[in-house]
Symmetry: C2
Subunit: 151 residues, 2 copies
């Protein structure tokens, strides 16, 4: 695994995301890393993140897939063009299939695979597993953040 989380390479002004910003004290602070050609993040749900007792709510899984995938897109773009500044990607579309109930009392592993890599668009497929069993799978179309989004 790489040593520095993708999200820790974001500049301060892009590090406030509820899902993955290191400067958002209320947020999830997801951290994603390279693991060979795949990307990986681990996350332990809070007790409040339930859908029904014992299981994680779907919105959390969507958030984890979303932020892990945009982070993976940023890292893949950076690996392809290491001499340029870090790139920030945002989500154009997100799809999640919920395959089985996801236990809330387990560490979740989110894994990403880069399916398509273009200069301004990266497609990432992702899974969320608990105890080695895939509970949800998803796909994110990430696009390079327009510079005029920063106020």
């Amino acid at each position: 695994m790489s040593e520095i989380a993708f999200q820790n390479n974001y500049p301060d002004e892009l590090s406030h995301c509820y899902g993955c910003g290191r400067l958002n004290p209320d947020g999830l602070q997801l951290k994603s890393y390279w693991d060979g050609d795949e990307t990986v993040a681990r996350f332990r749900p809070r007790a409040s993140h339930m859908a029904i007792p014992g299981y994680v709510y779907g919105g959390l899984l969507a958030s984890l897939i979303d932020c892990h995938s945009t982070g993976s897109a940023s890292a893949a773009a950076g690996r392809a063009r290491p001499d340029e500044a870090p790139f920030r990607f945002v989500t154009a579309s997100l799809h999640v299939d919920y395959l089985r109930p996801t236990p809330i009392d387990a560490e979740l592993e989110i894994r990403g695979v880069i399916k398509e890599l273009k200069e301004k668009k990266v497609v990432v497929s992702a899974t969320v597993s608990a105890g080695g069993q895939v509970c949800a799978k998803g796909e994110v179309v990430a696009v390079r953040m327009p510079e005029n989004m920063l106020r």
Copy 2:
């Protein structure tokens, strides 16, 4: 608009969802209602729910579409068979298209349309708007919750 939120018809043991459970004090407590044949919910993001300063993070929009749609599925099933007990639906799949950045300092309106209604499967399309402009649209395939999910 109907007077009682769909989620307030869920029995206590199914009212802990982070997105819409009335018994989850840390959660979003989304409330959805009939508005004619459409369903509607309104939600004001917290300051921490940002993606980058000024805009809502994608996972929140996914959560709102998810919980509003499963609630809408439950309500539609109940409207079709009013003499039976309330039905609880869970998400089989979720798709969200992010059409434009969603401002964080606005009340969001989530609207749902029932696209398909079967006994065990309901398909709901949804939009999230701010200031009358659609910022995200999505589709949820909701399935009747298996009884063995309740521990």
